[in-house]
Amino acid sequence: MSGGLATLYMSVIVLLPLSAVVWRSADHGTHGFWSAITNDQAVASLKLTVAASVIVAIVNAVMGTIIAWVLVRDSFRGQSIVNSLIDLPFALPTIVAGLTLLTLYGPRSPFGINAAYTKWSIYLALLFVTLPFVVRTVQPVLHELDQEMEEAAAALGARYGTIFRRIVLPNIGPAILSGVALAFARAVGEFGSVVLISGNQPFKTEVTSVFIFGRIESGDSTTAAAVSTELLVISLGVLLTIGAFRRRTTRHDRV
């Protein structure tokens, strides 16, 4: 019973609106859809967006794990404050993220770092908004991880690199992957912070969400819907693939 209601809720809130978008993208038939997504500006923006999102996802895999480690296994003054701050990117309006990054790393940077209106600014903005994902998926697993195996291995003389690689990593690997998938999915769709800091140069620093926005503003909602559908499929694909991979590896560990 609860399952049925829940599915209904999901359908009304998520599926129905998205179907409207997919429907609109089919306005000019499959030929129209295809020419919309093979538009060279769309393709250029997609290449840039996916590449940036992959880079950011990888950085998050590494840094997110390290941060989760430091928050779980380490202990220092102010640790709980640091922990609270991790979720801030969820609460801050993306425009604020863009504004502050612009001030810090733009033409008037107090650190002398001027990365605004380049590809680097895109990475910065995306790193900010995707910060919580890997950290929060890895933390619980790390917390539950029994340290006995690691201690045993250490007692037997294994170096920490080996311990990490052979004991810890297989256990937190699926969690890292989940976080990475989410970070990637969030990054490909990001708009508010990137639009302020990247310069939006078509074919150079224009991400797909800005391209879609431009099409909406030009009255070409069919192309906008088509490219949105494309982005949707990519995100869904990544989420599904990693979800399937996760299920397979988790089942492995089930006794």
Binding site: G3, L5, V14, F76, I95, F128, L182, F213, A244
Partner: protein, 258 residues
């Protein structure tokens, strides 16, 4: 890598990516003193924007909590075809560009949309509530699913063999077991609702004093050269999110030492 090395790397990264921008918000807010901040925050438009944000959050959070728990139960405990897809769909709102979310709601509920209700949906508060529910949907589900997976069904099955009804099982066994997953999911959902901007802005119609949330107010202030206004509203949003986190920390009982 040594412990201090890791700590240094982690904190250094956080300092550059997270702490510096957030501190800047504090700095820019109070750059000209407290008075301009007070004037800005107590203006009618700001107060109304804050009120609207809180109302929307107060509707979206309970909705996503209740249905989030139901969804999590369905995903973990029930078998149905296409479960993997539903699982991925739950995460989809995290991935969608806000531009697309706004567009979808306009297409669905707008003047020539598929769904026509007796009251105005888009360019009014209901549309904004729907957009906010959409983007904050995944959090409770995602926090509850792993907990449900971990605790397994043994306790509930035990309850069933002892003659408890499913409502009793849920109330006395399941819910208490997942309550911290739920609580944390609520915190994340709240934070997300407070910070929602892109999708909401498309469906809001920007009617001054009526359909402007605090995040929309931030953009309007920035556009009107009111830097203090933009930053002080942002600060309020950040503090609200931190407050939610702190409250959860306060009500959580101390963990037993290992």
């Amino acid at each position: 890598m040594s412990k201090f090395g890791l700590r240094f790397v982690a904190l250094g990264y956080l300092a550059a990516i997270l702490v510096a921008p957030v501190s800047l918000i504090f700095w820019r807010t109070f750059e000209h003193g407290l008075h301009p901040v007070w004037v800005s925050l107590s203006s009618g438009n700001t107060l109304h924007a804050l009120e609207l944000t809180l109302i929307i959050t107060a509707i979206a959070v309970p909705a996503n909590t209740v249905f989030g728990i139901a969804l999590a139960l369905a995903i973990v405990r029930k078998r149905f075809p296409g479960k993997g897809i539903v699982n991925a769909l739950v995460d989809l709102p995290l991935a969608l560009s806000p531009v697309v979310v706004g567009l979808s709601l306009l297409l669905l509920y707008g003047r020539d949309g598929w769904i026509q209700l007796p009251f105005r949906v888009v360019f009014a508060v209901p549309g904004m509530v729907l957009a906010t529910i959409f983007v904050s949907l995944p959090f409770v589900v995602r926090e509850v699913v792993p907990v449900l997976r971990e605790i397994g069904e043994e306790q509930e099955q035990a309850g069933a063999t002892l003659g408890a009804s499913s409502a009793q099982i849920f109330r006395r066994i399941t819910l208490p077991a997942i309550r911290w997953g739920v609580a944390y999911g609520v915190v994340l959902t709240t934070a997300r609702c407070l910070g929602e901007f892109g999708a909401v802005t498309v469906v809001s119609g920007r009617i001054v004093g009526q359909t402007e949330t605090l995040t929309i107010h931030v953009e309007q202030s920035y556009d009107n050269f009111d830097v203090v206004g933009a930053y002080s509203a942002s600060l309020v949003l950040a503090l609200l999110a931190i407050l939610t986190l702190v409250m959860m920390n306060v009500i959580k009982p101390k963990e037993p030492t290992q």
